[in-house]
Symmetry: C2
Subunit: 266 residues, 2 copies
Amino acid sequence: MNRQQLVAAIRQKKSVLCVGLDTSPEKLPEHLQGLPDGVLRFNKAIIDATRDYAVAYKINTAFYEAQGLHGWSALQETLAYLPSDVFSIADAKRGDIGNTADQYAKTFFETYPFHSVTVAPYMGEDSVRPFLNHKGHWAIVLGLTSNKGSQDFQMLRCGEQFLFEEVLRKVATWGSPEQLMFVIGATQDAQLRRVRELLPEHFLLIPGIGAQGGDLHAVCKSALNQDAGILVNVSRGIIYAGHGADFATCARDAAAAYQQQMSVYL
Amino acid sequence: MNRQQLVAAIRQKKSVLCVGLDTSPEKLPEHLQGLPDGVLRFNKAIIDATRDYAVAYKINTAFYEAQGLHGWSALQETLAYLPSDVFSIADAKRGDIGNTADQYAKTFFETYPFHSVTVAPYMGEDSVRPFLNHKGHWAIVLGLTSNKGSQDFQMLRCGEQFLFEEVLRKVATWGSPEQLMFVIGATQDAQLRRVRELLPEHFLLIPGIGAQGGDLHAVCKSALNQDAGILVNVSRGIIYAGHGADFATCARDAAAAYQQQMSVYL
């Protein structure tokens, strides 16, 4: 899915909502617990319930990897079940030397045909470039994350700026805003405004709303650009909005509420 | 495998050799090309041929992930085939917020029972700590890598020091040398000596020998400590030492030659 198609989907749905499918087998509602296809049935119900309100789905690979082959099958079938008009993100945070990064790009653009994958920047240009060599796909590089640990290194002073600013500045020279996004946590509003100054054009993938405490209105005010330019991810706040047999209805209501708040700004 | 056992294996084999199983289906010798169990047969033959000379094996997960379910099966069976007296490393370079890092720790310590996993530091303490909460297992955190891209961020000046030095200094406060190692590339000898000053006790996993141009003698002189304290990884230089039906013999000869060079220092 290219930028034009993504922007069109955002305009049509009046939404920048990304639903994060961080699905744990232990957290399934009781009637799906222990079923061999429990995770897949849960994900399908969540997708059906939220697809009118979401423009993107982010599959957090860790939750599937931890289940071994069975998990990877659920990931593959969940990806295949996504509607054709939504943007798909493999939240895998891979990063390694060139010949290995080639293999990761193959994994998440070919073996599992996602539109995009999240990438860690610590190893530098040759760890990111293989993802940019796949035309029509996106690399979403970690900039400033939403967790407490973001203070440890991302907020280090490196000369006149923070490390994460140098990461954004340098990585942005490696590809265009048609193929490169950045992860910027919602929990640090002052920094979000700073990022938008540095990168007026790029799409930002913004986690941290909901369970992690970020404020949606502040995010919209600080980070929207002419093409919308943001995807706001909510994981636990939607998929675990309910815990019973009505989990999908609860997820739908939560997604609709987020979409309604977003629509005011779009 | 704990530190004492690892050190005992090093003393017994007079080796700090780690064999990197970065096995590509396309690079298999002709007689294994296209076989459904080609990668596994190749890995088993490499392990059989090198186990007298190696104290550790590093499975680069990217090469298996790119093959989908079939690849994960080969990874699992390769891991199960490793002799009980060698140290196993999942070279996965994972790194994510706490609840996700928990899942990755489960993946590589339980679902696939490796002794250790490589971890990326960019997201800070809560992305590393879940790996340290698994007693008897190791986190091997990226410090200074062997690739060209290591210059982009790891060698940035942050105050009085390089970023990678701050990473080593800070991460080392999160766990003991009994559960924490660091990846330090062999291609930057001056930095390797600096790392040994900063971290006199820790084990270092040192890639970059062979295909990437690092010098084994310089590494041994700069980085060995009283417990040896290093694992030197060679991937392509051993597994692709030969390309024909005699690939395992070629791998054995290459591993034996590395071990012989190492034995002088041990």
